[in-house]
């Protein structure tokens, strides 16, 4: 009995003495680097103006928000293997130095996500759909392309600008509107993967998927096989609903991938490896805190 009473008494005294300090520190609580990055992003005219540090900070917010909906599969062997393949493909990209992270997440839908800064999430449904490592390399290469070209940063920038305008925030002031930006950033991070990228961005990412797979030594024709099989599935099934809300149809993408194959220099369709892919996609991904 004595200890809680002593604690409570001391707490009351110290809280009174420290109140000004706590108040001063609370400003830092709301001013994380991600929020400053979001403000700078909204102010800038080009995604190219954003530093890599800022991109990483925003990416962490996006990943945290996304993992809330898509928890990672608790299967270390699977995740380790996926990272070995993913990093190998990413090393062939224009930004090999990024801290690339790959994770298989809980969802039976066929989908994959790329967060700014280099974190790629792949659903269990997607991993069960690919038939060899070369096809997985194509999927990862597509997502890596979104990261290297900062496609989602551009989407985020548009959303923040619209939101900032709507709420009449002062984007010119570094100290003004920080709490509003924090809310905006968290809100946008949660929905960034529901935003549809424009057609040209998806075409660029498909081209990158083919190119990076070929550079990594895989048969680039695997990208076409994968897309053709996707096109053969019924589009209105639950497994594809989310994918088609944010991507062109697989039939359109078959044309894009076929054209990309025809433009390759240094590797031809059929030229390259198609290693067997043995991934155990079991694992409890439903853990919530």
């Amino acid at each position: 009995m004595r200890s809680p009473l002593l604690c409570t008494s001391l707490l009351a005294v110290v809280l009174v003495l420290a109140a000004p300090g706590i108040q001063a520190q609370s400003r830092h609580f709301d001013l994380g680097s991600a929020f400053d990055a979001a403000k700078n992003l909204a102010k800038s005219q080009s995604v190219g103006a954003m530093s890599e540090e800022e991109e990483l900070a925003i990416g962490k917010e996006v990943v945290a928000a996304t993992l809330g909906s898509y928890p990672p599969l608790k299967n270390q062997d699977l995740q380790h293997r996926l990272n070995q393949i993913g990093v190998w493909v990413a090393l062939q990209s224009s930004r090999p130095e990024l801290p690339w992270r790959f994770a298989a997440v809980e969802s039976e839908t066929i989908n994959a996500f790329a967060a700014p800064g280099g974190t790629i999430l792949v659903t269990r449904g997607m991993l069960n759909h690919v038939t060899n490592e070369a096809e997985l390399a194509c999927v990862l290469g597509h997502e890596i392309g979104h990261v290297t070209r900062r496609h989602h940063i551009a989407v985020l920038q548009k959303s923040l600008l619209v939101a900032a305008g709507a709420s009449a925030l002062s984007v010119a002031s570094k100290s003004g509107g920080s709490e509003e930006y924090r809310k905006l950033l968290i809100g946008e991070s949660k929905v960034i993967f529901t935003r549809k990228l424009d057609r040209s961005s998806e075409r660029e990412a498909d081209e990158d998927g083919v190119l990076l797979a070929a550079r990594a030594g895989y048969d680039p024709a695997a990208c076409l096989n994968f897309m053709q099989r996707l096109a053969g599935l019924k589009a209105d099934t639950n497994a594809l609903e989310a994918l088609y809300k944010t991507h062109p149809t697989a039939k359109e993408r078959v044309v894009d991938v076929d054209e990309a194959l025809g433009k390759l220099k240094g590797a031809a369709p059929g030229d390259g490896a198609r290693p067997e892919l043995t991934l155990n996609t079991t694992g409890n991904g439903s853990k919530k805190p």
């Binding site: 409570t8 680097s33 991600a34 962490k60 990943v63 990272n83 990093v87 801290p99 994770a103």
Partner: protein, 100 residues
């Protein structure tokens, strides 16, 4: 002052945290948030960084795996050399390819 305040907040929040079944890591997170530490910016609850310096730092680091799924992603990370070795074992070699 911050260390003393951390200790006192710990005393004050312990009964409530245990009653809610939140566990030790959640308690540390509560203390971190209350102090508004620079090392623990306000993020989503799942990934709040445990960053209390001083007496709780070692325990906080130990509790980190419970702090969120984002930490797991870091534990699965693979470096360049390992990725290259794994690719070589599967017969893969990088080659110069571009678009015409």
């Amino acid at each position: 002052m911050k260390t003393l305040l951390s200790l006192l907040l710990f005393c004050a929040l312990l009964p409530a945290a245990l009653a809610q079944g939140g566990g030790f890591s959640d308690l540390l997170r509560s203390v971190t948030g209350a102090l508004g530490s620079k090392e623990a910016p306000a993020q989503t609850g799942q990934t709040a960084t445990l960053g209390v310096r001083g007496i709780d730092e070692a325990d906080a680091k130990t509790a980190a795996p419970l702090a969120g799924d984002a930490k797991l992603l870091e534990s699965w990370a693979v470096g360049r050399k390992e990725a290259e070795s794994a690719a070589a074992r599967r017969g893969l070699a990088a080659r110069p390819v571009d678009y015409k």
